[in-house]
């Protein structure tokens, strides 16, 4: 059903988020893929709004999507909701594949990114000494090599267009370069990870992401703050 940009009040889509959260951006990219218009509400997590506290009383976290007055929380849950609620919308196609096995594989890669890949990347960034940093870097590269193999010669993890796995890994495309700048070490080089290296640039200029990225200088400053703690 095409609303042509104008939504009746009960069709309004609202997204509560914060500018620095990769989980919020994952949802923004998903909404963009579907061409869904939404009102964005910036939350101050040190001073959470009454709306946030009542819409996500359990976790009190962003992102929260509100559609037809009903909230959806947890970014992975929100992305699947967007794919289903706006099933036939958007030239961006389906976020998850149609085939059940392919869907299971996509969901597995999301878990991989969260549980297997992210911890060593965080360890590398926050390592107190050179030795720990080097060890964590190699551990992270080992997992990035797994991703490299999965990506292979494809444009995106989902194939010709961005899909669930690309959305879940997408923040790395802008976070890793910042981490590299701050630590003075490289983790994704064209030599060791050529496909992933190319994917990062491709993702950042892809239709869902290109006009929807956080302010990178501001992000770098906030990361610098985290690292000296």
């Amino acid at each position: 059903m095409d609303h042509g940009g104008e939504y009746a009040p009960d069709e309004k889509v609202e997204l509560l988020g914060t500018w620095s959260s990769p989980y919020v951006f994952k949802v923004i990219w998903a909404l963009t893929m579907k061409g869904v218009e939404y009102e964005y509400v910036e939350e101050d997590l040190r001073n959470k709004s009454g709306a946030l506290l009542s819409l996500n009383p359990l976790h009190k976290k962003v992102p929260v999507l509100v559609y037809r007055g009903k909230p959806v929380a947890e970014s992975d849950v929100i992305v699947e909701f967007i794919d289903e609620a706006w099933k036939d919308r958007g030239g961006g196609g389906r976020i998850l594949p149609e085939d059940p096995y392919e869907r299971a594989m996509a969901r597995s890669w999301v878990i991989f990114a969260r549980d297997v890949l992210s911890p060593p990347i965080w360890k590398w960034f926050t390592a107190p000494g050179e030795e720990e940093q080097e060890g964590a870097r190699e551990a992270a590269v080992a997992q990035l090599l797994v991703l490299e193999e999965e990506l292979g010669r494809k444009e995106f993890f989902a194939g010709d267009c961005v899909g669930l796995v690309d959305l879940s890994l997408g923040a790395l495309a802008y976070v890793i370069p910042i981490y590299e700048e701050i630590t003075g070490t490289r983790i994704v080089t064209e030599e060791r990870l050529p496909c992933l290296s190319a994917w990062m640039g491709r993702f950042l200029s892809s239709p869902p992401a290109k006009d929807h990225l956080p302010p990178l200088e501001k992000l770098k400053l906030s990361f610098l703050g985290e690292r000296t703690l």
Binding site: K70, E74, F81, A85, P100, Y101, S108, V116
Partner: protein, 230 residues
């Protein structure tokens, strides 16, 4: 069930995540071959099927492996959508609510290995129980029969698969997790769930779990003592 569907489940009897898959398969009326793994001596098949995490459960459907219990449950629901009841409702927001609670239950599931982790796990669980009472009231539209509304669904299976461990924890720690006064709907739900054939067949025996847990603790303590003597 389509002809030629070969389903194999690699599991471990004590794992609630494996129990979860057993219950889901039974609910859908799907027959499968069960392979009990010795987690201290994992089979070639398990290592080949789940090379990254090397964990159970793994469901192998016509030779293709699927890992992670909540991913397996959704796979079963989607690949066998014409067979048996659906684990998830049809309406997108209702599905999102079901996935939200399933994620929550997974987060709170006691996966701790060390004593501190386990104690933290118990505290988390006790905190979660009152939340789940509220969730049950909302999801079941006040009746409290199933999280899935009229019939068993994803949340019921996710939580129900933990029951033997929760009961074993009550026995070992003396803490009462499900108080019929504080959480009446949940307490009744547990009684009801435990009586279903699919649950009885899949849930491990509580006494056996208590024995198993004691043995694990003894082994861990012995290992820790040996390590500190070096």
């Amino acid at each position: 069930m389509a002809g030629g569907d070969d389903l194999k489940l690699l599991g471990a009897w004590a794992s609630p995540f494996v129990t979860r898959v057993k219950i889901a398969l039974a609910l859908k009326g799907l027959s499968f071959e069960y392979v009990e793994e010795d987690l201290r001596n994992k089979s070639e098949l398990l290592l080949a099927s789940n090379p990254v995490q090397k964990k159970v459960p793994v469901l192998i459907h016509n030779g293709k492996p699927i890992c992670e219990s909540h991913i397996i449950l959704q796979y079963i629901d989607e690949a066998f959508s014409g067979t048996g009841p659906s684990l998830l409702p049809t309406e997108p927001h209702d599905r999102a609510v079901a996935r939200f609670w399933a994620t929550y239950i997974d987060d709170k599931s006691m996966r701790g290995k060390t004593e501190e982790e386990k104690t933290e796990g118990i505290k988390k669980t006790l905190g979660a129980v009152e939340t789940l009472e509220g969730a049950l009231r909302d999801c079941s539209k006040g009746e409290g029969l199933f999280f899935g509304g009229d019939s068993m669904g994803l949340i019921d299976v996710s939580l129900g698969s933990l029951l033997s461990w929760l009961k074993a924890t009550e026995v070992m720690s003396g803490a009462k997790i499900f108080d019929p006064i504080k959480t009446p709907l949940l307490a009744a739900w547990i009684e009801r769930f435990s009586e279903f054939d699919v649950a009885k067949a899949a849930l491990p025996d509580v006494d056996r779990l208590v024995e198993f847990s004691k043995k694990m603790k003894q082994a861990a303590a012995a290992a820790a003592a040996a390590a500190s003597e070096n």
